[in-house]
Symmetry: none
Subunit: 287 residues, 2 copies
DNA sequence: AGGATATTGGAATAAATATTCCATTTAAAC
DNA sequence: GTTTAAATGGAATATTTATTCCAATATCCT
């Protein structure tokens, strides 16, 4: 028995090579599975057979005649294709390794970082709930000014957001804790403001405190975090869950920066729109 | 029996709402399935249970207590999430690219940003000179401490770099100008240190000043900027030119962050290597 | 501390699903 | 046109996988 293909690619190649030698039904089935890989990955033999208008036996025969040990073995290839096509980067990275060949470690590392972050950006927009985005912008638009909180790693994102907000002329205050004045900065939050908190896994005390405080004062709260189950989520009116890349046990922030940019610029676009309709056609431009 | 969620998003919401009312094992399981949706979509109950370190029963109990009629019903949601994520991508992107000006809604904007930044990350590693990378790391490795300068927009990157360097135990000082003390901070630079300056198009006076100063004092200088012709380049021992995405006349920083990460972690890797050979096997972990 | 209640693990069972096998049909060869 | 070989469908069977149920354990309450 010829050994079976090890990847979806190999399978494709094999099928087109052997296509002519297959019987009529087997050709029909082969065509179907290549046309509906998703179906094949997830459905049962019976369901697939029905859709392809063949009997279950035929499916199994096809798998066997392609060198597999039963249909299930072939199905695995379709399943791994499904997850690899999504930015699951393990395979991709090894491809990078071989493609770059003789490069110093540092360049290798750069490829890894760039690739991991690229993968994360590919997932991001599909995983953000459009309604949540709109709702967050509603909140920000109505707020007099926006307080932005982020400790340690999240501070970078908070700081970036504050910068971007200033850029679109939205009053923004970074809760920096500078000079140990967290308390004072929190007390500056008024009812007409809104709070954006960014916080990741060992969720900083200060960030939770900020949310609690804002919640008590009745401010609307938007949270960017790394899990639906984050303790920050309980206080939030809108929660964004972002997935960041991890390389060498160092977590990136690319997705958060991208989301942050979108929120700020999205707000800017809205403001321009309403001011065009209204009084001052204050169109901002760039750095 | 409460009716089950109809989509993955609803499931997420339900879990975070009910999380507190779940038992210990059920919480553990819930956390796992949210963290490993891919696994849940494709593996069998037994496999998932093993990975989550619970018994199969628990998995089924969780599904039931979330309103589903058995685990398989819940798994369907994970599967449909898997297939819905993929085909949208190319479709969505081309929609974004053609629909210039049309439907400037926030989600559209998010796709635009994500795609633009993704494109930038794809180019980045090919455009960075491997030798420059190595040389920069040489400089940083030999430096007693690293001073990091960046004004306005570049400040975000400088601040990120400082954070990342601290993370790999490299003494780093951010030249922030806090309290108007640029001069004082610059004077703190010693001959045994190095300077990393980040600066983009309307190149800030302060950044140039910092480079001049460091140059006079004989410090090695690494520059991250946006053009070979940047005024900063004249003082630099190593120059990195990065290309950032521009959407709605707002320039991103994704590539710079990525390069910055690489420099910091690359330095960390080197330090680990030499300390393994040498005395203290100081292996760093995690954020 | 001691009983009541809820939670958990694991083996037993039920259900779903893949695979085999044989009778029947279709195509090929002479 | 008959014989032979290959291909096919579908019911029977084997296997895998989900689910139930009960005994053991932990947790809560008084």
């Amino acid at each position: 028995m010829t050994q079976p293909p090890q990847s979806y690619r190999e399978l494709e190649t094999l099928i087109s090579a052997e296509y002519d030698t297959l019987s009529k039904r087997l050709q029909q089935t082969a065509r179907f599975i290549l046309d509906h890989p998703q179906e094949v990955a997830l459905a049962t033999v019976a369901k697939i057979a029905e859709q392809a208008d063949v009997t279950p036996s035929t499916l199994i025969r096809l798998a066997n005649s392609l060198g597999f040990n039963g249909f299930s073995e072939m199905q695995q290839l379709f399943r791994s294709r499904l997850v690899n096509e999504l930015p699951n980067y393990t395979e991709r990275i090894s491809a990078v390794r071989s493609a770059t060949g003789e490069t110093p470690d540092s360049t290798q590392l750069l490829w890894e970082f760039a690739d991991a972050n690229r993968a994360v950006l590919e997932q991001l927009p599909g995983r953000i709930d459009p309604e949540a985005l709109e709702k967050a912008l509603d909140i920000f638009e109505q707020a007099q000014s926006i307080h932005v909180m982020g400790a340690r790693r999240s501070f970078m994102v908070a700081s970036y957001m504050t910068y971007a907000l200033a850029h679109v002329d939205k009053p923004a205050l970074l809760i920096s804790g500078l000079g140990g004045m967290y308390g004072e900065q929190l007390r500056a939050m008024s009812q007409h403001d809104a709070l954006l908190t960014i916080s990741y896994s060992p969720y900083a005390e200060e960030s939770q405190k900020a949310c609690e405080d804002a919640h008590q004062r009745g401010l609307p709260i938007v949270v960017i975090t790394d899990s639906t189950l984050s303790p920050l989520a309980r206080f939030a009116d809108v929660v964004f869950v972002v997935n960041e890349a991890e390389v060498k046990s160092f977590r990136g922030l690319t997705a958060s920066f991208c989301l942050t940019q979108t929120l700020a610029i999205g707000l800017g676009v809205r403001q321009n729109k309403s001011s065009e309709r209204g009084l001052s056609p204050d169109i901002r431009k760039d750095p």
